[in-house]
Amino acid sequence: MTNSWTDIKNTDLVLIMGGNAAEAHPCGFKWVTEAKANRGAKLIVVDPRYTRSASVADYYAPIRQGTDIAFLLGVIAYLIKNDKIQWEYTRNYTSAPLIVKEGFGYKDGLFTGYDESKRDYDRASWDYEFDEQGFAKVDPTLQHPRCVWNLLKEHVAQYTPETVSRICGTPKEAFLKIAEMIGETSAPDKVMTSMYALGWTQHSKGSQNIRCMAMLQLLLGNMGMMGGGMNALRGHSNIQGLTDLGLMSNLLPGYLTLATDREPDLETYMKTRGFKPMRPGQTSFWQNYKKFFVSFQKSMWGAAATAENQWGYDFLPKLDLPSYDVLRAFELMHQGKMNGYFCQGFNPLMSFPNKNKIRAALGKLKFLVVMDPLQTETARFWENHGEFNPSDPSKVQTEVFELPTTLFAEDEGSLTNSSRWLQWHWPGQDKRFEIRSDVWVVAQIFRRLKALYEKEGGAYPDAMKALTWEYANPDEPSPEELAREINGKVLEDVPDPADPSKKLLEKGKQVPAFAMLRDDGTTSSGNWIYCGCFTDAGNMMARRDNRDPSGLGVYQNWSFSWPANRRVLYNRASADLQGKPWDAKRSPIAWDGSKWSGPDIPDIAPTAKPDQVMPFIMTNEGVGRLFVRNMMKDGPFPVHYEPFESPVANVIAPKVRGNPAARVFKGDMEQFGDAKEFPYAAVTYRLTEHFHYWTKHNQVNAVMQPEFFVEISEELAREKGIQKGGWVRVDSARGFVKAKAVVTKRIKPMTCDGKTVHVVGIPIHWGFIGATKKGFGANSLTPFVGDANIETPEFKAFLVDIRADTGPATS
């Protein structure tokens, strides 16, 4: 989230699209109801299903899953046509005036540079025109035919209300009504917030869904505003934290990236990570990259990371492929190329697409280690549960370990919520049975592995030996020790350049803020964006001062919000070129003539002059990007692509199937179904009564939603002779499920490109272990393909067939 949960109360309009906040985040959704009750804010919900969010919305419109980009580009086209643009913001704070170089083009759904055999683009033409000093050229009048503004205008022109309706199945009047409501927030003192979640990410073009909305928010001047922003409602309690800490194949903590094979040394590595400003006088904050990288390396390897060995550059592995994400992991496993796998609090058998493939893949491992407080299906993939899990244990040669770990109630530490708040918690109960903390288990595995290497020698033990391990109890480091390490400390005295008799930084102290991090090895920090969370003033994450003097939901002294305890990202954009707030009543910061101040921490240098330094300091341009140069694999502008499994052909580019730049593994392409065999558009989702595959273990939650079901319209039920509460069988090209039928008015057939499209809703949550009735798992059906940029599986749009059934065979 660019903003925070409590900030939603400041909004004028909430757009819930690509998510279902009322069901998935009820206590966060509270702030929507607050905005409605106290500010008279309006709520719009756009979703294939009339959800519980829709039940309290002022306006609901249906949309066929996987067509959000068409809808949003249609809204952008509407805003341009009807002059509903926050002009001062767009001209100055976005890349609208930047000029794109000649040779860039777009035709029939493809940008220049596409190579069909590689399913990839050569992105060289997606760039600006630069002047002699290396700065991008601009046309402040927005007249240049190749300025971003005009390219955008041209790009969105084909998404007329009629075309939107034809693609999305949203009635034209409904689309126009929503576009009009959204357009009202182009007034400088009106804001809209976007609340989305996996309804936008779990598509083969998920990143572009979100990008499209971000562009829309920029044009409306809603980024950086209180009550505005792009609010990604993260799914799990600390998935923000695990991502911040870089627990992904290609990341280092704080969104630094791992080196690739093409970067044999630090110098080469830094070449692509210099981030020089592309406009004069702009911040381009990533210029500090090396400080964060070196400080990270010092945290990892301590004294072993020296200037001579490029700060331990080779201790880290290098990537030969863009990523080893979960889809690739299970593809490799399925090919028999992996031997061992660890699942820490994670249940891939139920969570990843194409359950049959996942089960087969796990069966090819030599060993599987599951660390979990609950008995997961993954740990039991080899068990036979009849139709629910048709394994033959005698044929599965995997050695499986199930290690009991603590859960929240027995555990201490911090979790980072969607608002980017790091909140500390304490245990309330002793560990029972032989349950151990994850820290203990991981430390034990490491220490035993390291001991084996010390005893026997073996492949490259150097990094393991160099790894810092300065804990009072090396067998179980304490949460506080680890938190201090994440924050970072001063390793050597640093004299004050202004007065060498004074020390700028004193050895042994905690680093107070990431601005103090250095690239000369004198500071360490496990994660630069968390720097400031545990300083010499104490554990900032444990702060519990809930006063809010501004009344704007800032809560400055509650826990610690990364970065730098900032609550609203890009908050500099909430004021105009003179530094005057667009809306004085909802102002996070303002320019007082010499510096920025206000209830929030400025997201800019405190003395950066408002008419000179533009607000989006993390970009090289200093402004919000309406056009991306080469950071997106599938295009500098979003394009409507159908899901890989779609009931209709792509109206704007009939020859393109799915996202042309999305990675598809061999064998998975053949497992895509077509609309002839599988005529119905399916979508998976959460229900408010359950959390993922966890609460099915809880008796009380099992009572609230006891049994796996699918939802269909009354029309489809009639057509297929399906009874409310009766059994149905749902088939996809990859598998089948049997479920109870919820027949509802809340799903209605849509008309897309002249064709009736029926939606089949398939909630997740049920498995073959726990307190609920046994269920199949929605991932029995879903396709094994991910987003082109970050490989999030396409769970939200695929094809199925459905028919009445007699229920699961009892085994």
């Binding site: 206590c27 799914g235 994400d325 530490g413 002793d430 349950i435 035993r448």
Partner: protein
Amino acid sequence: MLKEISRRRFLGTGSAALAGTAIGAFGFDGVEDALAASIRPFKLAQTSETRNTCPYCSVGCGIIMYSKGADKAAGKLGTISFIDGDPDHPTNKGTLCPKGSGLLDFVNAETRTKYPMVRKPGSDKWERVTWDYALDRIARLMKDDRDANFIAKNQDGTTVNRWLSTGFLAASATTNETAWMTYKVVRSTGMLVFDNQARV
């Protein structure tokens, strides 16, 4: 660390402070004793309170866990008897959704793991093992695989120091501190097949 918080939220204004079971102080005039006894004594009396965060979604609601039998001096935290929302928390203001409201059932789920278990190749059952056995065996399996498949240099001779045949899926609800510990260990072995639950 046990956080004991005063019960300042117990009462509305104008009421006397309450400690332990003090139902009698609450104006039961005119109610026969038997009837007063029929109202259940306030069940959170005599519990200790600990602040925590709901482990489910990313709203990060504050919760209070009420434990019985805590003994600070003996280092005992006791057993949690009730969990509800933390009224001091700015986001949830004491409220909790149906998942958060049922957290006690999560803590006490029948299907929680309790002991280290192993399932041997081809077997159709779990066997309970000691932690030492499990951890040593895992370390051995890791080392054998790593020694056999570790790639120190790629075909071009570039040092790459990667290990691709074993992978690690990190959690979505463990603490940042656990995540950091995990990060350090996983990366130091050269593992690249490393991901978390951000996408599902």
